[in-house]
Each structure stands twice: as C-alpha cells, then as structure tokens.
Amino acid sequence: MIRIPCPHCDARNSTEFRHVGEAAARPDPSTATPERWRAYLYERANPAGWTSETWFHTMGCRRYITVERHTVTNEIRSARPAGGTRAEPAAALSARGDAGSPDAGGQA
C-alpha cells in the first residue's frame, strides 16, 4: 500500500485516489498536426525512476494533485495541488509538515 501525502487531506492510502496519468503538456489543437496530437494522446515517457504525475483524490477532497513518485520503489517525495506554478519539492514537503489545518500545504 502506498500512502499519498495529499496537500489538502494529509497522508491517505492510495486506494482513495485515482491515478490520472503522467503530466503532459497539451498541444494547441488548432495548430497541432494529427501525428503531434496522437503522440500527445498515446506516447508516454513511462520511466523507471522519478516521475511527475496527476492523481485525483476520489474519496477525499476530490481535487487534482501533482505527485512526484519513484516508479521502482513507489517512494513519494512531493505532492502539491495540480496546476499553477511548479513548487520546489522541498517547499511542498515542508508545507505538508504543517498538519492540523485541512488546507495546510494548499499554498505550496
């Protein structure tokens, strides 16, 4: 069982979450070629190592979060709200340490 440190709800079992997928930049639909668009749809880095991915907290806050996870060990080094500016992993971790208020870490 892996535990995911949700920035809104603190550490919860992964069974509460839905894995959405690798974070990928969407090309502009009005200018992308079919090949470029299909590469965005299908191709994945699928690394054996650190990856940045989106999870959805289905049975918790029902918000999307961005998680940095090692795919071989399943170790998680950061979790922050999805979207917005990219936080430093250390900042996200220290924000998560402020457990107590439900929104601790929400500013990471």
Partner: protein, 437 residues
C-alpha cells in the same frame, strides 16, 4: 571373464559423450538407459563467451526473445545470434504469468495471430524435444450481465469465422464443466452464460522458456544471462550495436523483447513508445485434490482461476491501478482477489493462499502488441505485451525471426506496427484481452 561394474561403464560412456559435443535427446528410453547406467544428464545449455559482434542481438531472454532466436536459427539458418538478459532466463513476465493459452480474441487480426500461437504450442514439445506440459483443458469466460453476454456472442462469431472452436454456453453446461461454481440466481454476480473455448488451457511456462533456450543453444545461438544492455548505438538513424556491462557488441539488427521494461530499453535508442508499465499480481493456494479442470475467467470480477497439476489453485487479477516497476505484492490485492474468487466459488473459503507475486505488464492503448520496425533502422520491437504476452510467445518469435531474416514484415503481424498509433489504426482488443475493464 571379469564383470565390469556399471559405474565404470557409465564413466567410460561419459567421457565418450563429452568428446563428441551434441545435445542429449530426451526420451523414455534415454531416461531408462541413464538410470540403469548411472549417467548424469548434460547441461541443458552452454555458457559461451561474449563475442564482439553478432548478426543480430535480441534483448530479453524471456519466451519472446528466446523464441525469436530459436526460429532465426531453425527456420532461417541465422545462428550468429545473441540473446542478452540483465538477469536470468525467464525471470521476467515469462516466469510470472498465469500460463494460460487461448485464441478466442475479438478482432480478426488478433484471432488469426493467437491461433497460430496455439497451433505452435500444440507441437512445441515435439519440436523442442522438451515436455512443455501443454494441457488443453478448456477455457471459460463468464458473463455476469447482458452486455458481457453480448460481447461473448460477438467474440464467438468472430472466432468461428476464423475456424476457432468457440461457443456461448448456458449455466447448466457451465456447472457440468465447473462443479463448484456458484451458478445460482441468488449469486451477487449471477452467471448468465460463458464463452467456451475447448482448445484453451494452461502450459508450464518455465518449461517453454528452458525448451526454447536449450533448442536455440543447440543450434548455435549464444544466450548471455546477467548481461545488461547499457546503451544502444545509433548512427544516422541506423542501429550499429549495443554496450553491455560485459562489453560492446556490434550488430546490424537489435530486437527489443523486454515487455515490462520495453520503454527503458527503447529510450536507449531514442524511440518513444505508447506504453504504460503496470504490475499485475497473481497468487497460488496450498495444493488440494484436483477438482477444477477448466480455466475459469470472470471479466466483471477481474479474476481468473485454474488448477495446476500439483493441485494448487492459480489466481490472476487485473493490473494494479497505477503504473509502477515495483514487483512487491500488496494486501489490498489479496483482499480483493479473495473476495472475488469466493463470489465465484464459495466452497473454497477455507483454502489458504500460499504465495503471491507480481509481474510487469507494458500496456498499450488498444490492448494489442507492438511488433515490427521503428524509426531507427535495424532496431525492431516486439513489445506492448501487456497481459497477453505468454500465449503469443511462439508466433511472435516466428514472425520476428522472419522480419529479421527477410527484412519484410510478415502479414500476420502487419496490423500490430508502431506506426498505427500515429496513423490512427488501433486494433481494439480490450474486450477480449484483459479482465480489468
């Protein structure tokens, strides 16, 4: 006249045999002869020196890589071939699957392809002179609701058109084939019918790996275990060789047969794939007296059950819900699996789980494999084997060997090329290839 002790005869025979190199042929007669003479069996395969160049390098010594090398040597006379593996023969998906073989797929391309594999498996023990224990005990895919029954009928018709023995049967027929199955209307997931595929069954997967390795080795193929590929050399979009932890190898053709690790190997050649690696867990129970002949699959309950010749029940499930290269078992898997198996067979509640394990599945978007050429000339892939790789081992090896030897993609795998994703020609096999949907 003095009597010669049998052991002395045995020693003499041994020295004679080692003088003329050649494989021992496994037979009942040879078993008796060696037993009587006290002779040892020779090693099944040799440990040759790593050469600096080969005509072709196959990465991955699982059933796909070994079969590719075997058919290169046996069908095309190409014996200057190396099979490299970062660990040991059959240590990946080839030794971790639930050993089910069948061909009742959904698309005509898939049915034709997997049926060729079943045909090759049927003669494999004779072809390789190795008992692979292929047991065509019948394969049942249960339907618990109207929509899955409709898919079963669809599959049965596609199968029949391709000449495959496959039909939809009702609950009475099912309970005759599987005595302990709960087919009552009160079941949480009532059994409405099943797709029955009599030629489907199970095989001893380790024996297939070893059989291909032994046969390929005897034909002159070099199998290098614990030889990890650390780089793939590409010059002007053409592959020129690989680097390994034991030295560099020049080769005009490199075939990637690494299934779960396919993305990491393709990265070395700069080829990007539409793959996501998920672990898939399986478990076996303690052995009990044989009661289950057929292989029973339930898509709705995400589980498949068969009984081995030793009496253990083998359970498989759908892939884990997030991608990972970790092969550790998890408690939530065991809990969910046990619950689902007991929905089907309440009477086995007292059976204890003996062990559980995981293998890696490189899932494609359309649940069909990726076989053939890549943008890098000479770098071929036989990947994307997801949850259906073992049953395809022989036909994939045969087709990839033909591609390597002739340079032309065989018709039987032409639908499964890498370019289909960019060109929008997916081969949707999800309805028949997996239980997790």
């Amino acid at each position: 006249m003095t009597q010669t002790p049998l052991s002395v005869v045995g020693r003499r025979a041994r020295s004679l045999r080692s003088a003329r190199r050649g494989p021992a042929r496994y037979s009942a007669f040879d078993l008796l002869r060696r037993g009587a003479l006290g002779r040892d069996w020779p090693r099944s395969f040799t440990q040759p020196e790593l050469k600096g160049s080969y005509d072709a390098v196959v990465i991955g010594a699982g059933v796909h890589g070994l079969a590719t090398a075997y058919y290169l040597a046996a069908n095309h006379g190409m014996t200057n071939v190396a099979v490299l593996d970062k660990a040991y023969i059959g240590g990946g998906g080839s030794g971790r699957n639930t050993a089910i073989v069948r061909s009742n797929y959904l698309t005509p391309e898939g049915v034709r392809f997997y049926d060729r594999s079943v045909k090759l498996y049927e003669n494999l023990a004779v072809d390789l002179n190795f008992n692979v224990m292929f047991s065509q005990r019948g394969h049942l895919t249960l339907a618990h609701n109207d929509s899955s029954l409709r898919t079963m009928r669809w599959r049965a018709e596609v199968n029949k058109l391709q000449g495959i023995d496959s039909e939809v049967i009702g609950p009475e027929h099912i309970s005759r084939l599987v005595p302990y199955l709960d087919v009552s209307a009160e079941a949480r997931y009532p059994v409405l019918g099943a797709l029955y595929h009599p030629p489907g069954g199970t095989i001893r997967h380790d024996a297939v790996n070893w059989g291909y390795a032994r046969a390929a080795d005897h034909l002159g193929v070099h199998i290098h275990q614990y030889t990890e590929v650390t780089a793939i050399h590409v010059e002007a979009d053409r592959v020129t060789g690989v680097s390994t932890n034991r030295g560099d190898i020049a080769a005009p053709v490199v075939v990637n047969c690494t299934a779960g690790w396919a993305s990491t190997v393709c990265d070395l050649a700069g080829v990007r794939l539409p793959l996501i690696t998920h672990p898939l867990q399986a478990a076996v129970t303690e052995p009990v007296k044989v009661f289950l002949e057929a292989v029973v699959v339930s898509g709705s309950l995400h589980v498949y059950v068969s009984q081995t010749d030793r009496g253990e029940l083998v359970f498989g499930a759908s892939v884990d819900p997030y991608p990972s290269y970790s092969m550790r078992g998890s408690l939530e898997f065991t809990e969910e699996l046990a619950g689902h198996v007991l929905e089907l067979m309440p009477s086995i509640a007292k059976l204890r789980v003996l062990r559980q394990w995981a293998g890696l599945c490189d899932m494609t978007p359309d649940y069909s494999p990726i076989m053939g050429v890549t943008p890098v000339d000479g770098f071929l892939v036989d990947v994307g084997w997801g949850t259906y790789g073992y049953k395809a081992g022989p036909v994939a090896g045969e087709a990839m060997a033909e591609l390597v030897a002739t340079g032309k993609t065989p018709e039987i795998i032409s639908a499964f090329d890498l370019a289909r994703f960019a060109e929008g020609r997916l081969v949707g096999e999800k309805g028949a290839a997996a239980v997790g949907h």
